[in-house]
Structures are given as C-alpha cells and as structure tokens.
Assembly symmetry: C2
Homo-oligomer: 71 residues x 2
Amino acid sequence: MPPNKKMKAARTEIGLTQAELAHIVDVTRQTIGLIESGKYNPSLNLCIAICRALGKTLDELFWPDNAIYEE
Amino acid sequence: MPPNKKMKAARTEIGLTQAELAHIVDVTRQTIGLIESGKYNPSLNLCIAICRALGKTLDELFWPDNAIYEE
DNA sequence: ACATTATGCAACATATATATTACAATAAAG
DNA sequence: CTTTATTGTAATATATATGTTGCATAATGT
C-alpha cells in the first residue's frame, strides 16, 4: 500500500499530532503512523473513526482511485 | 456492526451470489456472508476490492451515514 | 547547544480477520 | 414434493492488525 498522504494532510491541517489522533480514535500512535506510511491495512471501523475525527469521508481519505502512487 | 444492506443490495442488483463475489475478491463466501450480516469488521483493502467488484465507492457501501455517534 | 516534542522503527505479545471444513436451514426450481 | 442452489452458522487453524515497550532520529523551541 502506498503512503496515505491525504490522511496525513487532513490530520496536520487540523493541527493534530499522530499521538493526539491516536488517542481520539483509541489506538496507539504507532498504528496511526503505520497507516499513514502505508504499512498497515486498517479495519473499516478504524477508517471510519479516523474519518470522523478528521471531518472527512471514506472516499476522501481512503479511496485510491485518484492516487498517483509515488514511492 | 449492523447488517450491510447496501452491500447486499448492490451485489444482488448485479446478479452475483455471495460465492461469486467471494471468488472475484479472493476471499471465502463465509467472509462475504459475515460482512453482509454485520459480524465482521473487514479490512480496508477488502472493502475496496468489494467496491470495485460491485461498481460502487466506499462511501456508497461502507459509510454509516445514518449512524448515531457518541464518545 | 540543550531540551522537548513528534515521528520512525524494531521485537515480541495479543486480538481478531479470514481460511477451512462441515453441516443445517432456506430458497428456488424441476 | 424432491432436488439443487444459496445462505447461515459453528469449530478450529492461520495470517495479520494492533498493542506494548523501548530506543533512535528529526524537528522545534529556548
């Protein structure tokens, strides 16, 4: 999986750190970091929780159709 | 998790059986059945594969638009 | 420079998604 | 009514998401 730049962008736009987002959605900061770096295949429930915390939808953060996979 | 009626509707509209959809997305029919009945929390990659097989997006099949939320 | 915060990463442990197999229960069709 | 296809469900096994701990590195600020 490619890095999730949209998720990272949405998080930093709100001014949240990985640890803060992790606390909101009740996972560890490592999990958030690994999702952002594309090394995890997160569960649907976690994706939904992240979307709600960041004010976005699944398509906006996790739908890969418009992604240009760089590195 | 509630039953995923939207996923089941999208599948039957296309005329696919659980076993056929399962074969397309490379899981077992039990997995499809359990996702539709709301007893599984599927991975993001599987959700995306299901969406592509059914011609829908994540928001259309997996966004709980009518869910009530609390913390 | 130093201190502090944020992120990356690695090893091991645990929880859970998914596979496998099998059988029961409906639905559909003849 | 009988047969077949489709779906529900359950037990056990495996793969992997996630937790836990710890340390390293990169920013950021003082």
